[in-house]
């Protein structure tokens, strides 16, 4: 078990290294650096000013050196100002200007995540609140998605080919075939517009006081989550994942329902409800469990679209802002976080699989 964990963590580090290097390479192409200089020092500055800005901010070294600086294995750049003060990567990191005081290396290994150029703040300060916001969104999405998906899947799978099965399967396929950028827009038009969809009807019947039923924008959820401002983003995410998990649950349920022991239980007169709940369910949930865990990193990509659509500043929104503004160190940190989330959920899914299915061992 320990060996298994160690191997997994090893894989995680190697993956994170490869991924961050690719991100680093792509965000440090010369044209990208020029864009960065322009967003930082003024959008209409001249080429000479761009060159001077890049030089003064340590972007003029070889790419590998700077990747090493970010990792914390290569000493950070330093430069002496005219008036005797020294500046450099590590001087800025700790806000020091006296020569020789700052440590030589400052990077990931030293626990320094860098500065976000888009938000003008330390990356370590930018990511946690955003991750927390996304955590809330994901939590509610999972709370809605998992029970709904399991109920739909179990109901559909317990009598294969029945009318219930056909209806629920159609619903599951339709929901999983509708990407977030479609369902989100449809939801907004249908439920959050004062001129189209349901809201004008409800409003004219006097059922709602506000001009719209739900808020089509989740910005206010940052301060206080309410049913009215959080329903649409949560539903948009949940609906997409739900169909898929329901399909897997149904397949797994139908398979279990054809097993010999189910037939035996039936023959000995156990009620149908009891068969489903006590004999079939646990076995049928093994496959959906892994899928649900794998859905979490998958949701993380959906979250980018949903958070931008509903202007909800979470992790996906941060990733989008960082990518659009070529915020190098924020993007790198976001990739590290993404790698950790993906591999951690896989780890949990593997361990949980063993726990649910005693026939499998990790070693």
């Amino acid at each position: 078990m320990l060996l298994f964990l160690a191997r997994r963590i090893g894989v995680m580090i190697v993956t994170a290294l490869c991924l961050t290097f690719i991100v680093f390479y792509l965000t440090n192409l010369p044209a990208k650096l020029e864009t960065l200089a322009k967003t930082q020092a003024g959008s209409r500055i001249s080429d000479a000013e761009v060159a001077s800005w890049l030089d003064r901010n340590g972007y003029n070294q070889p790419m590998l050196t700077r990747y090493g600086e970010w990792l914390g294995v290569v000493p950070g750049w330093t430069r002496e100002d005219g008036d005797g003060d020294v500046t450099g990567r590590c001087y800025r990191a700790y806000g020091i200007t006296d020569p020789g005081v700052a440590p030589a290396r400052c990077g990931l290994l030293q626990g320094y995540w860098g500065e976000s150029t888009r938000f003008r703040a330390s990356v370590a300060d930018v990511i946690p609140p955003r991750l927390g916001a996304t955590g809330l969104l994901m939590m509610w999405a999972l709370i809605v998605m998992v029970p709904m998906a399991l109920i739909v899947g179990v109901l559909a799978g317990m009598r294969e080919g029945s009318r219930t099965d056909r209806t629920l399967s159609t619903f599951a396929i339709a929901s999983t075939a509708t990407p977030e950028y479609v369902s989100g827009v449809v939801f907004i038009a249908l439920l959050a517009s004062s001129t189209a969809g349901l809201s004008p009807l409800l409003s004219s019947w006097g059922w709602i006081d506000a001009p719209v039923l739900f808020q089509g924008n989740a910005r206010s959820a940052l301060e206080k989550i309410t049913f009215w401002n959080f329903t649409l983003p949560v539903m948009t995410i949940a609906l997409y994942g739900m169909g898929y998990v329901a399909r897997i649950t149904r397949a797994s349920m139908t398979e279990v329902m054809t097993q010999q022991y189910i037939r035996t239980a039936r023959l000995k007169g156990v009620s149908f409800a009891n068969i489903v709940l006590r004999h079939a369910l646990r076995n049928a949930l093994i496959a959906p469990f892994t899928v649900i865990m794998l859905q979490i990193p998958w949701l993380l990509t959906g979250v980018v679209i949903v958070e931008v659509l509903f202007s909800y500043p979470g992790f996906g929104w941060t990733l989008f802002e960082a990518a659009v503004n070529n915020d190098i160190e924020l993007l790198l940190a976001a990739s590290v976080v993404a790698v950790i989330v993906v591999l951690l959920t896989q780890l949990i899914s593997d361990i949980g699989y063993v726990w649910l299915n005693p026939r499998i061992r990790v070693t």
């Binding site: 044209a31 020029e34 322009k38 003024g42 209409r44 500055i45 004062s194 001009p211 910005r219 802002e321």
Partner: protein, 544 residues
């Protein structure tokens, strides 16, 4: 400065022009009233121009209190002199004030100055600093502080310090010229210019010209020392900013503003659909700017629209250092193929007024009326044939911003109609602006400037940094120098006429229209009409 001294009874030239258009039936009465009042003509006077009497209106006195929520981009703050977006300035207007202010009607009024005087050839300015102003840290505001700001503005060693380009006449060797700023007494400052410059004062109204304290450390949020009545509470890039009335500071203009308790800027991203959703959910009261298709939508959901006529435009310019645009006949031919009125109608939904391929707008005080420009597609093709470019494939580049792309598309369509071979290239905004100065043929948006000569100085004088058309003309430069020395707009107009003609004759660019700007706000927000330079003077807004 004549543009400041316009009397209240004296009507704006453009307003009279609109009135005649309205009586001729070219302009609807409603449209006329919007435009005339946008030019600072009081509503009764505007009705008077049409020979009507104004409907009786209830006079409103401002009320104290309220929280105003405004949709606006919130960008990372930095030193005011390096600001490149007016949004950055709008956040800080409540505590960082300006020496002078540009108003919706094109006039300039003093703020931290009491008054100013220029000598006859605009080489010496005397600034009378307002008395009784204090900083919110308790220091008294003096001429020394203003002198310090001039020094900051002239420091070109700071990348992106755009104030330096406005201060050329008091600079030498990339810094403030010694003796250019003379502190006469505690409340008087004299500027000695090396050459005549009439744009200096209006440059002080530009958004990077916020006046800061000598101890200012470069971060207007973390270190909000200012003279204004508000102070920042929080500022999160990309998310929002909150500003509240400063209870520990007595504002010099106490009682004439600072009605609102709190201003919340909300950044909902760049997609106007998200703004609509938020406005429908009653989460925002006002927009920074409303554009294009969304004007009708915001009106439909019960917000009031205000308009500002401006001299901002889209310049579809040729770069004369590139083949075949080094040839004047080619440039003229391409210009002649275009009907500017059609570009305005189809490329910009008629949200402005037609321009005449030169960069001086009717709202500029020194605008000279020229004969209308001609459009002749057959002649255009003949001219291209004569130059051997009948089959040349031209390429028109624009950014992907909606109105840039639409306008350029329409220009290309008109050229195709004339039989000219043209290709359109649309680049993403981030890539486009990397090379905006050097594209052979492309569309650049230009913001409003209060005086006609200002943009000419910035963009068309030989060899200046933003001369994207690579236009270089000795006569033009000399006349521009002359115009820069005439403080009186009416006298300057004679020279302007020739400058405008040169731009047309040389085929510098297709300048199809002057954009009107729009803003939507809820009906209970007052004094918040759109401003030609996007300024949000929230210290003057109030809610009922």
């Amino acid at each position: 400065m004549t543009h400041k001294k316009r009397k209240a009874t004296e009507l704006h030239r453009a307003a009279k022009l609109y009135a005649s258009e309205c009586t001729e039936g070219k302009l609807s009465r409603r449209e006329f009233l919007t435009r005339a009042t946008a030019l600072g003509v009081a509503a009764p006077a505007a009705y008077g121009l049409l020979g009507l009497s104004a409907p009786a209106a209830r006079a409103d006195t401002p009320q104290m209190g309220g929280t105003l929520r405004v949709q606006m981009d919130i960008r990372a703050q930095r030193d005011p002199r390096t600001w490149d977006w007016s949004e950055l300035a709008n956040v800080c207007r409540g505590w960082l004030e300006y020496l002078v202010q540009y108003n919706r009607d094109g006039t300039i009024t003093p703020v931290l100055l009491e008054d100013w005087e220029a000598n006859d050839d605009a080489t010496e300015y005397t600034l009378m600093i307002r008395q009784g102003v204090t900083w919110n840290n308790g220091d008294a505001f003096t001429a020394e502080h203003v002198a310090h700001n001039f020094e900051r503005w002239c420091d070109t060693s700071v990348e992106g310090n755009s104030m330096a380009s406005r201060m050329g006449a008091i600079m030498e060797d990339d810094a403030l010229r010694e003796g250019a700023v003379e502190v006469v007494d505690e409340h008087t400052l004299r500027l000695h210019l090396s050459r005549p410059d009439i744009t200096l004062i209006s440059g002080l109204a530009d958004y990077p010209a916020a006046v800061v304290h000598p101890d200012f450390n470069g971060d207007p949020i973390g270190d909000p020392i200012g003279t204004g009545p508000y102070r920042p509470v929080s500022h999160d890039t990309g998310i929002g900013a909150v500003i509240e009335r400063n209870p520990d500071h007595t504002w010099w203009n106490e009682g004439n503003g600072a009605w609102l308790d709190r201003i919340e800027f909300v950044d909902l991203g760049t997609d106007p659909a998200a703004w609509v959703a938020s406005a429908e959910g009653a989460e925002i009261d006002m927009l920074y700017e409303t554009t294009g298709d969304f004007l009708d939508i915001f009106t439909a959901i019960g917000m009031d629209q205000t308009e500002a006529v401006t001299s901002s435009t889209l310049v579809v310019r040729f770069n004369q250092e590139n083949e075949p645009y080094d040839n004047r006949a080619v440039r003229r031919a391409l210009q002649m193929a275009i009907s500017n009125a059609e570009v305005l109608e189809l490329g910009y939904s008629d949200l402005g007024i037609v321009a005449e391929n030169h960069h001086v707008c009717p709202i500029h005080p020194e605008y000279a009326e020229l004969p209308p420009i001609e459009m002749d597609r057959d002649a255009a093709l003949d001219m291209l044939e004569a130059e051997g470019h009948a089959d040349t494939e031209f390429e028109l580049i624009s950014s992907d911003e909606t109105f840039h792309a639409d306008t350029a598309d329409n220009i290309a369509a008109q050229m195709r109609e004339a039989g000219i071979n043209i290709r359109r290239t649309i680049l993403p905004g981030a890539t486009f602006w990397n090379d905006w100065l050097t594209y052979p043929f492309s569309a650049t948006s230009w913001a409003m400037r209060p005086l006609g000569v200002q943009t000419l100085n910035l963009a068309y004088r030989s060899g200046v940094a933003w001369n994207e058309s690579a236009f270089s003309n000795v006569e033009f430069d000399e006349l521009l120098d002359q115009a820069n020395g005439i403080p009186d707009a009416d006298e300057r107009r004679e020279i302007m006429a020739r400058l405008q003609e040169i731009m047309q004759e040389e085929g510098v660019a297709i300048i199809p229209y002057w954009r009107s700007l729009f803003r939507h706000a809820r009906p209970n927000i007052h004094n918040a009409e759109m401003h030609p330079t996007f300024e949000i003077h929230y210290q003057n807004y109030w809610m009922s």
